[in-house]
């Protein structure tokens, strides 16, 4: 085999794929076929390449079994896939819910959160109102108790027995009597000190005696 033929064979074999793909021009195809028909080795190699290419193109499209596709059909019909190793497919119920919402019509997609909020409100609001009503409806005796801040006590009211009420009234009477007695005494400022009435009475008596003495002395002098 001459070097000229060798180089020709080399270039022709480089064109196998282009010829098989129909990418050669008319002249290139003619030259290609002319060489292949005249060169046994290139013809053999071309048959080999063509056999492989035909074999590739004849390989059939294979089909997946229906059993393997069953989880996909379940998924499409809204059920969770039954048998899959995919971590993303076995996501939480929240992701399933999100997928379901994503697949739902637009109206249902927005109606679902609204209905969910309404249901939560229907459950929680009555409980809250009942609790508020319980604190506002305390017994009268508790409501009448004085409060330092003027606001309603946060704790539940204490229930008093009749005995407790009677004792409280007796204590109140004693306190009032004490206040009456204390109110009968008056305070006087004498020498920078507050003096209560009994002492003032004694002082007044002393002043009266002094005054009487002074008057008697004056009368004696006049006599």
């Amino acid at each position: 085999m001459s070097s000229n033929n060798e180089s020709q064979c080399y270039f022709v074999q480089l064109q196998f794929d282009s010829f098989l793909d129909g990418e050669l021009t008319g002249n290139q195809q003619e030259a290609f076929l002319q060489h292949v028909n005249s060169c046994a080795e290139c013809a053999h190699e071309f048959r080999y390449a063509q056999t492989i290419q035909d074999g590739l193109m004849d390989l059939p499209l294979q089909d997946c079994s229906e059993e393997a596709l069953a989880p996909l059909r379940d998924l499409a019909q809204g059920a969770a896939p039954k048998n899959t190793d995919s971590a993303s497919a076995s996501g939480s119920w929240l992701s399933d819910l999100a997928q379901w919402l994503g697949a739902a019509p637009m109206g249902l997609r927005y109606a679902f959160p609204v209905l969910l909020l309404a249901a939560i409100g229907l459950i929680t609001v009555p409980q809250f109102l009942e609790q508020e009503q319980g604190t506002g409806g305390a017994p009268a005796i508790a409501a009448n108790q004085p409060s330092a801040t003027g606001t309603a006590p946060a704790t539940t009211p204490v229930q008093y027995s009749p005995e407790d009420v009677a004792q409280a009234l007796r204590d109140l009477t004693t306190a009032l009597e004490y206040l009456n007695q204390a109110g009968q005494r008056t305070e006087s400022m004498v020498g920078g000190r507050f003096l209560i009435n009994p002492l003032q009475n004694r002082l007044n008596a002393s002043f009266d005696r002094v005054r009487d003495n002074v008057r008697s002395e004056i009368a004696g002098e006049e006599i």
Binding site: Y10, H44, I52, L56, Q62, A103
Partner: protein, 193 residues
């Protein structure tokens, strides 16, 4: 959406499964990958450009195959559901000159599976499944020239397979080892890439 999703399954199930099966040569793995691809299709239905659904599906399938191959670097973990090539070659040599076309097909599929990626994926997509260069470009995120170069190399690697060469020689009945070596040298010599 449900109807469209089921239509997509029916339309592309063979293509996705075939790609996985020719890549892995294991039926159960191919079924797992098919499931995974269509579950991801369901999960990403709203985000996908449905004009390029074929390319999207094949991209997901391609990535799933690569992930599985990486996970199973240990050959002992691989599952082969096809006949042993060596046994078939020996049987064919001893039997007769008439070559079993089915055996050649098995050899061809095994040789495809033995290719590295992206040679394997490109030759399956282009030559087996007949995908357009544009779809392969979108699937593998390559330019058209890159796809053509990889396809050319993949075909050449297949032709360099000794198993396929022997099977062809038996098929054509023109076994000529000396001539074969000479032609093989010519094919390998250029190293154009």
């Amino acid at each position: 959406m449900l109807e469209q999703y089921q239509q997509a399954i029916e339309q592309y199930r063979q293509r996705v499964y075939s790609f996985a099966h020719y890549s892995l040569r294991a039926r159960e793995d191919a079924e797992d990958i098919t499931q995974e691809v269509f579950i991801k299709l369901w999960q990403n239905w709203q985000k996908i450009d449905h004009e390029k659904l074929n390319a999207w599906l094949m991209r997901v399938a391609h990535n799933a195959v690569i992930d599985l191959v990486r996970r199973r670097k240990n050959p002992a973990e691989q599952i082969d559901d096809y006949a042993e090539p060596e046994d078939q070659a020996t049987t064919s040599e001893e039997a007769s000159a008439k070559v079993d076309q089915e055996a050649f097909r098995e050899e061809l599929m095994s040789s495809i599976c033995a290719l590295d990626d992206p040679f394997r994926s490109i030759i399956i997509m282009r030559d087996v499944q007949g995908m357009s260069y544009a779809d392969i470009q979108h699937t593998l995120d390559m330019s058209e020239s890159q796809v053509k170069v990889y396809l050319h190399r993949a075909r050449r690697r297949l032709r360099e397979s000794d198993v396929l060469r022997n099977r062809f020689e038996q098929l054509s009945g023109t076994a000529n080892p000396a001539a074969r070596r000479e032609v093989q040298m010519k094919v390998v010599k250029p190293a154009a890439d």
